[in-house]
């Protein structure tokens, strides 16, 4: 069992400034856990605390039912892949992978078989005698991964491993790491600032901001039920459309009044929004729920008239950057639907998929 438990973990670099605040999480055995968040949110710091590269200021971390606060990194049974790969430039690929094993006094034959195995998995067999300088970025990344897997640790830590790769390579490596996770059956903790990586790779995702965990959930759950405005805006491409407006109790039922756009509210939402009548709220709706075929085909879906600023055909769909009064939003529409830049367009809102947030606390209302 390689469960990683973070119990009320705090981190401060001196003074009263906390880089990580009260981090509480249980990472299950063999789980692929992704920490995501913008720069400086504390995700890497947390990972480095798990690795033992940073001291823990408060709280405790345990790996495989052992508190590791005072255990040096090499004894934590972990392996880490660094953003810059940290390959030793003076060693060959083989030596880079074998280094950790040599230091642990593995037998020569054992080292050999483990490195061969890892290099087969990663497709590095032909490059074992090259120096890192003679490898491409992707190959270097593989060596870095290989260095981690030869030791067969219980927990793998990845610190933004793909951010130095080009877009295509990143997509490819992403899939390979996911496959590796299945194959190695180990616990993996993966830090990234790229929400696409997070969504595609993680069993569960931890969204962090300013050292605080905002939400821990599976990728779909995170997408569909963001706990607050930040998660809503951070997860998903293009991001969720956010509209500021008032809740009004009108004659034909409740409406969200955003000045230039008025959306009638579904009855099941009304109860939750009771307290917000005549108050400011933020309505969030994902681009695929605006003007998409499903929305257009839903009867009674409210229609919004807006100005088309930019048209971005993506092939499978087309993004429209729209303006309606003071609101800007993005719609994902059927690529066959013709529309021209500068024209006016009526788009259907799939209001059942809309979320409402409290602008003061940023938390989800419904």
């Amino acid at each position: 069992m390689a469960e990683v438990i973070l119990d009320h973990v705090w981190k401060s670099y001196g003074g009263n400034i906390w880089a990580v605040k009260d981090f509480n999480l249980t990472i299950k055995d063999r789980e692929f856990m992704v920490f995501v968040g913008p720069s400086g949110c504390g995700k890497s710091t947390t990972l480095r605390m798990i690795a033992g590269l940073e001291e823990i200021s408060k709280g405790s971390i345990s790996i495989a039912e052992r508190v590791v606060n005072n255990v040096p990194p090499k004894d934590r049974d972990i392996a880490m892949v660094f953003q810059n790969y940290a390959l030793y430039p003076h060693m060959t690929v083989y030596d880079n992978m074998a280094f950790g094993l040599k230091l642990r006094n593995y037998k020569r034959a054992d080292i050999e078989s483990r490195v061969r195995e890892a290099s087969d998995i990663l497709g590095l067999a032909d490059y074992l005698h090259r120096k890192p300088k003679a490898l491409s970025g992707g190959q270097r990344q593989r060596v870095a991964v290989g260095r981690a897997i030869v030791r067969k640790p219980k927990v793998f830590l990845f610190d933004e491993p793909l951010s130095n790769l080009d877009a295509k390579m990143r997509v490819q490596m992403r899939a390979e790491i996911s496959k590796l996770h299945v194959r190695l059956e180990a616990t993996m903790i993966y830090v990234t600032h790229d929400q696409v990586e997070a969504m595609t790779m993680g069993d569960r995702i931890v969204v962090m901001k300013d050292g605080v965990v905002l939400q821990v959930a599976t990728p779909l759950d995170l997408y569909e039920n963001p706990a607050n405005l930040f998660v809503a805006g951070f997860i998903g491409t293009p991001p969720m459309n956010l509209f500021e407006g008032l809740i009004r109790r009108g004659a034909d039922g409740w409406i969200f009044d955003g000045a230039s756009m008025q959306v009638a509210l579904l009855p099941e939402m009304q109860a939750k929004l009771e307290a917000y009548v005549d108050k400011q709220v933020v309505m969030g709706i994902r681009p695929e729920h605006v003007g998409s075929p499903i929305a257009e085909n839903t009867a009674d879906a409210p229609k919004i008239k807006a100005h088309v600023d930019v048209v971005e055909p993506m092939g499978a769909e087309t993004y429209l950057y729209m303006t309606s009064g003071r609101h800007n939003f993005i719609a994902k529409i059927d690529p066959h639907r013709r529309c021209a830049m500068g024209s006016e367009l009526q788009l259907a809102f799939l209001e059942a998929k809309a979320h409402f947030f409290d602008p003061a606390t940023t938390n989800l209302i419904v």
């Binding site: 690795a51 033992g52 590269l53 040096p72 990194p73 090499k74 972990i78 392996a79 880490m80 660094f82 953003q83 810059n84 790969y85 940290a86 030793y88 430039p89 003076h90 060693m91 280094f99 950790g100 040599k102 230091l103 642990r104 006094n105 890192p132 300088k133 260095r147």
Partner: protein
């Protein structure tokens, strides 16, 4: 490129020597500027010095009249020879020579002559006069056409030149004829001994009488010496020319240094006589005899050993901590001694019934390189006046008026009308001086004598080392035999040097081997230049067609290069080429060098001294590389690791670097004081044996751990090197504990907490001297080196350390497998620098030890040969051979450097 300094000077040589005086035409008068070696400093108020100043002033004042009387007519008549100047109003301007002088070398003038900036009037010392004469530096003063010496009256001659000095200055010159070469400056000097009355009184020793003997001298020294309090019987200076100090003892024992064979016109060293052995025995015993003081500390000898120029000697003497001090007193002005504190006595009689009294005289001669007879005439008049009766009168007056009258030779007091002063003059001074003058003899001087005192130094040093090691036999017969063999060896070498004759068979061997070496040198240098040209040639293009130098395309680049290239060519390579000619000549500064072809190389190849110096250089190089190259790396790594106070430590380690090199040397020289008052001795002797053993163990364990990790990583050779280094370092510390544990009378375990029984002799001991020469540069170079590495370490991304942490690397692993490989480019560059620097250390050693105690490195030897002994030919040959030996390293370094990729160490790619 390592001999540049030398080559630069050689260039100056090649351009021909010339003197400094000149004739200046002013609208209303002509001024003759004369440059002399030395002038008294008018700002120094001491009476006899003021007397000297007054003499010079008087000379300048009288010159116009003197000129009018003796020269004007001749000059005006012969403008072709003397130039067209206003000879009706002529003035003299005397200036002090301001050229290069090296303290303690006495060869300042030689350097000036070699450098082509010699003064017009040369100061010559008695014992070096032969070199000046044989090299043709001096202008003969008795040419009838000049009417210099011949123009002097007999009374004048009698007043100026003491009969005992005459043989020294009236000698055969390079032309085989006898000439007068120099005039005495000041009176003849006789050696006497001064003693501190207070120190003898304190030890209840009666004052020595003039009939005392060596045994009395030895007994008094033995009685008063107390090294624990820094009190010694006398001072026996050390250094290259220690042999010179031995000569009076040789005489005292009835021996002689050199013998002249009139028939063969040949000098022979004869100091390996029984008298020589007796003298050496006495000399060695008084300097080095082992005894134990009342605290049981081991002591050596009864005299203070220090370089002759050590300030400490005069300090100790003035403090009354040295009983006897030898001094040469001047005929005219005896010496300034305080009769209440200081007594005067003649040197003691030796077993041969002789006194080791030497005569000396300061001399002045005219530089032979003067082209203008006007300057030469002025120089002669200057010299002539400086020691005439009028000058003596002026000096005497100043001395009497300055309260020094009682120290003036009474005959001068009488001569110049100061009879009333006579009653103040201490009788014993005059008596001593008379004995000294009667028994004294001038130092032998003859062809090829320079360097003989250096050869004579060898048996002294060897005998001293044997005594200190305890291997000198006590049995008088064995002892005599041993000392005899040391002297024989030295005399043989001296004779070879003087005669310079070798058998035709050996000459052939030498010439052949020299030829072979020369061919090798030629091939090697040719190969190297080809190689260098290849490296710097433009790379061929992909099509295989060379791109050429692109003069048109890169015109401005070449224009910008021109000054640098010209500078290097003119100041480095050109002199190197021109100077190389000297390697094949018996080079003479004043011209007329004979071609000797490969003989210089042959002589150098078979010169044991030279190879000893090469060996010294190698020792020095190994020490420098191992001590100054690695410690900054280690220090930097440690500093990088410590969590607090980084800046403080960095500053502390850097501080020594702000001290200038020369200050560092003198600072450390004082640290190396061989008595227990020396800073280093105080530190070292405060640590008990156990402390050293613990240090030895700690260092061994650290290096053992490194070796172990290296072994695990299959780096067997490196592991072995590490282990060996551990052994050496451990042995180094243990060697401090050894003499403590080895004390007679106590078991080693009882001595564990005891401290050193005797102070270390540091620079005086050949075993430690070289190490001590290196230590200051380690100390001073640690900070800057460390800073460089720290900067490089900062460039190593933390990732590497962290990755290694997670991989399970220990601190040692990280240093060996992460830090050092990543620092490799910098390490190589630094290594090259340190290595080259270690062969370029001549100046450092010169200032530190002057090359004594087995520290003469090759470069210093070359320097001495060239500038002290004026053997420019062999010196140049040596420089080429040294260059040849180092070229291999240089090529290898060039190859490494050309392969290196210069990039930041933390480069992630």
């Amino acid at each position: 490129m390592r001999r540049m300094g030398l080559w630069g000077l050689l260039l100056v040589l090649a351009s021909g020597a010339q003197a400094g005086g000149w004739v200046q035409d002013l609208p209303d008068r002509t001024v003759i500027h004369l440059q002399v070696t030395d002038l008294p400093d008018p700002s120094y108020p001491e009476a006899s010095n003021q007397g000297d100043v007054a003499v010079i002033k008087e000379m300048v004042r009288r010159f116009p009249a003197l000129f009018a009387e003796r020269y004007r007519a001749t000059y005006t008549r012969n403008p072709g020879k003397y130039g067209r100047h206003r000879w009706d109003r002529v003035e003299l301007d005397v200036r002090k020579f301001s050229g290069i002088k090296i303290e303690g070398m006495g060869g300042g003038t030689l350097l000036a002559i070699a450098g082509g900036v010699a003064p017009d009037v040369l100061d010559v010392y008695f014992n070096s006069s032969d070199q000046y004469i044989s090299q043709g530096f001096l202008y003969p003063l008795d040419k009838p056409e000049d009417n210099y010496f011949t123009g002097m009256t007999e009374a004048e001659k009698a007043f100026c030149i003491h009969p005992k000095v005459m043989p020294g200055i009236y000698r055969k010159g390079p032309d085989g004829q006898k000439h007068l070469w120099a005039m005495p400056r000041g009176g003849v000097k006789g050696s006497i001994m001064l003693y501190r009355k207070d120190l003898l009184d304190a030890n209840n020793v009666p004052y020595p009488k003039n009939d005392w003997t060596w045994d009395d001298y030895f007994a008094i020294c033995k009685k008063v010496t107390d090294p624990g309090k820094g009190i010694y019987g006398a001072v026996f200076p050390i250094g290259f020319f220690e042999g010179g100090n031995f000569i009076p003892y040789l005489w005292g024992a009835g021996g002689e240094m050199m013998e002249y064979n009139e028939a063969k016109d040949e000098w022979r060293a004869v100091y390996n006589s029984p008298a020589g052995v007796q003298a050496l025995d006495f000399y060695t015993r008084i300097c080095n005899e082992i005894w134990h003081d009342k605290n049981g500390r081991k002591r050596y000898g009864y005299v203070m050993r220090a370089p002759a120029d050590s300030k400490d000697i005069w300090y100790k003497w003035s403090e009354g901590r040295i009983a006897f001090m030898g001094q040469d007193i001047d005929e005219k002005m005896f010496t300034q001694i305080n009769p209440d504190l200081t007594g005067i006595v003649v040197p003691p009689k030796g077993p041969g019934g002789q006194r080791g009294t030497s005569l000396g005289s300061r001399l002045q001669g005219i530089f032979a390189g003067i082209k203008d007879p006007v300057i030469r005439d002025a120089a002669w008049e200057f010299m002539r006046f400086l020691d005439c009766e009028d000058a003596a009168r002026i000096r005497t007056r100043f001395q009497v008026e300055g309260g020094l009258g009682r120290f003036v030779n009474p005959s001068y007091l009488r001569m110049f009308g100061y009879e009333d002063m006579l009653r103040f003059a201490p009788k014993e001074i005059e008596e001593c001086f008379k004995i000294s003058l009667a028994t004294g003899r001038p130092p032998a001087s003859g062809r090829n004598f320079n360097g003989i005192s250096q050869i004579m130094t060898k048996p002294l040093v060897k005998a001293a080392d044997l005594t200190i090691n305890g291997t000198m036999p006590d049995d008088p017969r064995e002892r005599t035999a041993l000392l005899q063999s040391l002297l024989d060896e030295s005399a043989l070498e001296a004779n070879e040097r003087i005669v310079g004759r070798i058998s035709p068979r050996e000459l052939l061997t030498r010439r052949v081997s020299a030829g072979v070496v020369l061919v090798l040198i030629g091939i090697t240098f040719g190969f190297v230049f080809r190689n260098i040209a290849k490296v710097f040639a433009p790379p061929p293009t992909a099509t295989g067609v060379p791109t050429g130098w692109g003069f048109r395309k890169y015109m401005w680049a070449y224009v910008i290069l021109v000054p640098a290239v010209l500078t290097i060519l003119v100041w480095s390579y050109l002199p190197l080429l021109i100077g190389s000619k000297m390697a094949f000549q018996d080079y003479r500064i004043m011209g007329g060098s004979a071609w000797v072809w490969v003989d210089n190389f042959g002589a150098v190849l078979w010169d044991a001294d030279w190879w000893t110096c090469v060996w010294n250089s190698m020792r020095y190089c190994v020490l420098v590389v191992s001590l100054t190259f690695l410690p900054p790396v280690i220090l930097a790594v440690l500093l990088q690791e410590i969590p607090v106070g980084k800046i403080l430590f960095r500053t502390l380690f850097y501080l020594p670097a702000v001290i200038t090199g020369l200050v560092v040397i003198y600072l450390w020289k004082s640290f190396y004081d061989p008595t227990e008052y020396g800073v280093l001795n105080a530190v070292v002797s405060a640590i008990p044996a156990l402390g050293y053993i613990v240090l030895a163990v700690i260092f061994f364990v650290i290096l053992f751990l490194f070796a172990k990790r290296l072994y695990i990583h299959q780096r067997y050779v490196l592991a072995l090197v590490c282990l060996a280094a551990g052994g050496i370092v451990a042995w180094f510390f243990f060697s401090f504990a050894l003499p403590i544990l080895n004390q007679p009378g106590i078991h080693w375990y009882q001595a564990l907490l005891k401290t050193a029984p005797e102070p270390s002799r540091w620079l005086l001991d050949p075993k430690t001297a070289m190490f001590c020469c290196v230590l200051p540069s380690v100390w001073a170079g640690m900070g800057p080196g460390c800073l460089l590495y720290l900067a490089a370490l900062k460039g190593i991304a933390d990732d590497f350390y962290e990755a290694a942490d997670i991989d399970g690397a220990t601190f040692i692993d990280k240093i060996m497998f992460v830090v050092i490989p990543l620092l490799k480019p910098l390490l190589i560059i630094q290594f090259v620098g340190v290595f080259i620097g270690s062969w370029n250390s001549d100046a450092f050693i010169l200032a530190m030890t002057g090359g004594t105690s087995g520290t003469t490195v090759a470069g210093l030897h070359i320097f001495y040969q060239a500038y002290m002994f004026l053997k420019f030919g062999p010196a140049t040959a040596m420089a080429w051979i040294l260059g040849f030996m180092l070229i291999g390293f240089t090529v290898q370094q060039l190859r490494i450097l050309s392969r290196l990729e210069f990039k930041t160490t933390g480069d992630k790619k």
